[in-house]
Symmetry: D2
Subunit: 256 residues, 4 copies
């Protein structure tokens, strides 16, 4: 089967989903089941995974069935991010983590220098770091070189729904990478996810595109099919683009 | 279930496929099964459906299981197209047909004036005409008004693989139409099919994108998922596009 | 100099402009001067060119200095269009005309079958017909074959500001045409006009993009420069697109 | 007039050009004159500005007439870049400089961490630093905050000719910046430059797009007009995009 691996774990689904922004845990649970995801991200600072007196995510999304990926949503400095993940490891034993350090509350854009600082510390402390960053080929290479187990370049700003804004940088990132490349953030609809996979990415992570749709459950189904479709199309080898069918050669460096 | 109807027939699959350009009928058969299609187009002038001394398509694609849609591929005048479909009706009893009249051998672009002439005759003669045309809102309306049972605007030139070149005209066509709108021709890869469906089309028809892929069977799988993904995303209601998540309003008429 | 010719007349400016939608004739005059246009379209049914008791366009835009191009804006049938242009010829002696027949008041999309009918009559009656149509390679060829002196495919719906929606069809039209190709309708801003020219078109016609800008005069200047820029870039021969500078070959038929 | 300022100097032209990749200094000179540029970048490590026994750039491009902007092309570490600019200051007294630190010889992508290190040192040493970087809103803000006098985000990889790949990030950068924003690298043709200016950038810097065109001199003219066109269109306030002219509202967050 067409599986992929990260940090020694192997997965069949290439769609990773967030657990936030749903109406309640019941909807979260149904949407995630519909998506077919095997890895779910959990915002350690926001989602209740330890207070037994409030509804707990773990009661709905079984940590034995799903791989929990604690993330550092809400952290704006390396220090905060590192502290958050240390707490997560102490609390749940998680060492496979998603690192994200953002710039500010308004744009929620990755802060690469702080992310770099945090990544260096976390890798040294034995975390298996999947790192959220910009679609910057140099930074992705750098994170890989310092020991991150996966790079997660954005498609577009978190929650923007703009899709893969720059397929060219994504293609360069894939071309260079020896660790899995997962497009993370910015997907708006099914075709966006398919495009990410057609570029050769190993997977796609999303949250708002599903949780924010009018019908989140149906959109979760859509995304499951979209990721499969994009992956299979990538493997199947698409026809080349031509100005018209009988043209003797594909469109070249003067296309539009 | 999310079915659609044309000429009194109801279908669950929204992917229609051609039967040409495969290595042999065996590959045709496996690819079509993988695509999940229920309607297959057949180029009456090119595909053997009646000579029992040569391999016959009907031995591989069971006409009781699939709806055969005879088309007029290779016709460049109304007269030719009408004659071709009359022969098809006599031979196989088919009256649900796909009309296409092309301009020339080089660009294979629809010849709308000749298509219009042919459509008028065929509708009068009792054919149920699904009509291939340009993504021209006026022509699509016109074909609908004269009694065609479905309009099939191109995404891009046949065999070009360029995808939905003009989502705006497609959106206007969908907005206006009371008969099914099927995007036909120009799809190159899975995301193209998803995009067509996200625009609100009722279905997608393709041939080269599957038959011309390096691995046609796998691409057929991809397209099945892509059409489902796009359809479900359309029904699910995607999030709006914003410059960034916390922007107070979606991107408006000055976007890029 | 880099001039172009239509119907035996030679022009240096490749920007053609409409005369409608301005605040008053004074603004029309200043904007048109700023645009550097030598040809102006005049909606015969809407603009006063004959009643001496009301402000007349001809008092502001000197018909000796500018080539007036009467158009059939507001006509929805061949009959109406033909009658309108016959009146224009009687009134002003104009036989170089812009033919447009639209589908309806809502979408203002070209009605090609009626346009075709009108073009046949007008050409026979000795008019020099510049014809507004869709970006349909077959129709453009057809209009050329029946004797039109220029074809004017749309970039996008009139007044939409969406720019050249389908550069591929425009490129095919240019590749085929032996008469001038002028992109007409749909331009929104300067880069849209530049793109039209970079595709090899002979000129661009616009009205709303200038008259509807917040500062029409300044936008007229912008468009003058944009058309020049696009034309010169076309002639200068742009560099090919590559994924990165040191790539050994330009991007080919699998680009995005 | 519509001038702009950086580091206390005021300029009328918003097109900045490189001096490399031309056939010879004579062509460099004519192309730069045609471009109307007032600022020229000079690769300190590559261009002869001091050896009187070889042709010198200064003999062709008068440093009294043009503002020389020494750059660090060819530097892959902060240390190299800093050393190069110190030498430039010693040799020619230049303290207004363009800092660029690239990742490697293949992709020539900005190395932001090294660029950050170099910028901190150079600003402290009194250089006025115009900094080449990615189209990363956080990094641009960061460079501004530490005292850079202008930020120069790329449009696309150097020499790729891909144009402004991500107008959305560029728009966020412009929205945030208090120093001039100049798009640098990746422009391929005239419309690309116009688009950069329509996004509200203060200027555009290019080299390959002109020097690599078939006719560099004519392309220089094209770019002069394109930058003017884009700037004027930005100031003039374009019409909004609509699906069709009579639509009651502009296209919103569900456009394509």
């Amino acid at each position: 089967a067409d599986s992929w691996s990260v940090a020694g774990l192997t997965f069949n689904s290439r769609l990773l989903v967030g657990t936030g922004k749903y109406k309640d845990f019941e909807e979260t649970k149904i949407a995630i089941e519909a998506s077919g995801a095997e890895i779910v991200t959990v915002a350690v600072r926001r989602v209740n995974v330890s207070n037994p007196n409030a509804p707990m995510l773990t009661d709905y999304i079984d940590p034995k069935k799903y791989t929990y990926l604690p993330n550092t949503a809400g952290c704006f400095t390396a220090e905060d991010a590192v502290r958050t993940l240390r707490l997560a490891r102490e609390a749940g034993g998680w060492d496979l983590v998603k690192l994200e350090v953002l710039s500010d509350e308004k744009y929620l854009w990755p802060n690469n220098p702080e992310t770099l600082k945090a990544a260096e510390i976390l890798v040294q402390e034995g975390f298996k770091v999947m790192v959220y960053t910009t679609d910057d080929p140099h930074m992705c290479k750098r994170f890989e070189d310092l020991g991150c187990v996966a790079v997660m370049p954005l498609a577009a700003p978190i929650g923007s729904g703009l899709g893969v804004r720059n397929p060219y940088t994504t293609r360069i990132i894939v071309e260079q990478a020896k660790v899995p490349v997962l497009v993370d953030a910015g997907v708006g609809t099914a075709s966006d996810a398919a495009i990410a996979m057609e570029l050769g990415c190993d997977g796609v992570l999303m949250n708002t595109a599903i949780a924010g749709a009018k019908d989140p459950i149906l959109m979760a189904h859509a995304m499951k099919h979209a990721v499969l479709a994009g992956r299979q199309a990538y493997l199947a080898g698409r026809i080349q683009k031509k100005l018209y069918a009988t043209a003797s050669s594909p469109l070249d460096g003067t296309f539009f």
